[in-house]
């Protein structure tokens, strides 16, 4: 076949698929600018653009609370997870700790466990120690659930660094913590950024864990609040669309900035496993 026709055909296929992926969001965005409560049929162009749905959704769902909660939880989960996963991975990859091999396997196995297995007992465990309806409880639970991926991700990263780097620093008499902070971390920013971005996304999007551990609606995060908002306003498409865009907003912004990290984190993280 004519190579130029082939190229054109490729673009056509890609563009069709891209449209299929984007169409639902285009529809929701257009719907969000219609007057509240208006019936939306298909891809309807608003006759009169209005921001009022965003204001109404924000107030009705109490998004200032929900969004703040989301950020508070993420602000705990991201740094804590990064530090703990980095320390553990550094040890597993370079210090050959006793039982290290078994622990690596234990972390990797954790990648396949569904949250459903943990969540019921976790609720009762945490309520006996007063960690339900608590930011700390959710932060620690998310940190634990995200740990397998983080340890695994950083371990592959550290293991791929040249051995000479470590040997040289060791012979120099550097202590292991110094080696980590002065030698390894400065060249690990790309890996850490990717992991941090993924952690933020998982924390921001977390639903089941939050709906269970935060019985108090005031303490829930943005997606969970959105989940309940649907029940209240299920027929008001413009309002629901605006609420969805509010919840999607921060993560899409982050995605636009750290696009490479998201894609490489999910694809490489997956493939190496």
């Amino acid at each position: 076949m004519n190579p130029r026709v082939m190229v054109a055909a490729r673009y056509l296929v890609l563009t069709l698929f891209a449209v299929a992926v984007l169409l639902p969001f285009v529809g929701v965005t257009l719907a969000a600018f219609h007057p509240s409560g208006a019936p939306i049929a298909g891809l309807a162009w608003p006759t009169e653009w209005t921001w009022s749905n965003f204001v109404e959704a924000w107030q009705e769902a109490g998004f200032d609370r929900l969004v703040a909660n989301s950020f508070i939880i993420a602000a705990g989960v991201v740094p804590l997870s990064l530090v703990l996963a980095t320390l553990a991975a550094y040890s597993l990859a370079t210090l050959n700790p006793f039982g290290g091999r078994a622990l690596s396997v234990a972390f990797v196995l954790g990648l396949t466990l569904p949250i459903e297995l943990v969540v019921v007992a976790l609720y009762f465990d945490l309520s006996t120690v007063g960690l339900t309806n608590s930011y700390l409880g959710v932060i620690l639970a998310e940190t634990a659930l995200f740990m397998p991926f983080g340890v695994y991700w950083m371990q592959t990263h550290f293991a791929a660094l040249p051995v000479e780097l470590l040997d040289a620093a060791r012979v120099d008499g550097a202590r292991s913590l110094t080696i980590l902070t002065r030698v390894l971390l400065p060249i690990s920013w790309p890996a850490l950024t990717t992991l941090g971005v993924l952690y933020f996304m998982w924390s921001w999007n977390q639903f089941l864990l939050v709906i269970v551990l935060m019985q108090d609606p005031e303490l829930r995060n943005a997606p969970t609040g959105l989940g309940l908002f649907v029940g209240q306003f299920s027929a008001n498409i413009p309002l629901l669309s605006a609420a969805s865009i509010i919840v999607i907003g921060p993560i899409v912004t982050l995605y636009l900035i750290f696009q490479r990290n998201f894609v490489s984190g999910i694809t490489q993280g997956a493939v190496k496993g």
């Binding site: 459903e116 040997d167 040289a168 012979v171 709906i211």
Partner: protein, 311 residues
Amino acid sequence: MTDVAVRSGRSVRPERTPARRRPKRRVGRRLHGLVYLAPALAVYVLFAIWPAIHTVYLSFLEWDGILPAVPAGFSNYVTVFTDPTLGPALWHAIVLILFFAVIPCAFGLLMTALLQGGVRGMTAYRMIFFLPQVLPLVAVGITWRWMYSDGGLVNRGLELIGLGSVTRAWLGDYDTALVALGLIGTWAMSGLCMVLFLSGVQKVDVALYEAVALDGGGPVRKFFTVTLPALRGEVTIASVITTIAALASFDFVFVTTNGGPVNQTTVPGLLVYRLAFNEADIGTASALAVVLTLVVIVFVTAIRLITRERS
């Protein structure tokens, strides 16, 4: 930073540690390593491993969450398989695998075969295809609730191509709800599979294709003898990720159908939540969670066995 590396690099040879001092330092380092592991391990064990074990324990009890629990033997497991609502939920989750894993992987492979030459501007496309992966599933679910509604885009599209007679509220229809739900997964997962496969195919040695071409092989043979074997790892991982997503689904079911109509779209995650927190039947909820986990393990193991390299 590079300074440190270079400087210490110079001192390697003269100061090389004598062999007899090494074992002791190694033991020290190996013990030291445990200190670095301890915090991560503590959080992981306390907040993930222990609750998982605790769930298994709870699955052998009859408990409402308040009054003292009563040992129940395997009766909760019997309930999971005999109850008219629980068994079907497991079955629904397995049906979802078709839409979350099988179709997206097949689609991804087809696209990979078509697009192999690579095109300019792939980064922008990749970014769009990947978008469903980063969004909260609740928002995805709400979007599709609207897509599938009476006046939604799906029905409008069908009317446009002259299929106005089949339009309906897809998620509310007894016969179509599960398929409609599954297709949301197809929409979300196809991009992931495609991006994974397209990046995997880049590492294939072009000489292999040339060899097939010299042998008189066409594009189909190139795909089956070179591309597909080269993507073994990617296919395995895409299948595993998407299968787990199908089996453990919760968020988007919760906001789209919440199991309805008439329990046609119940999934294990939804019922674990309902049993434990709405119906105060902790034992059965735990047993269902354990069975779900076993199903996940069986499927993941099966995928790994099927896609394993045959020597």
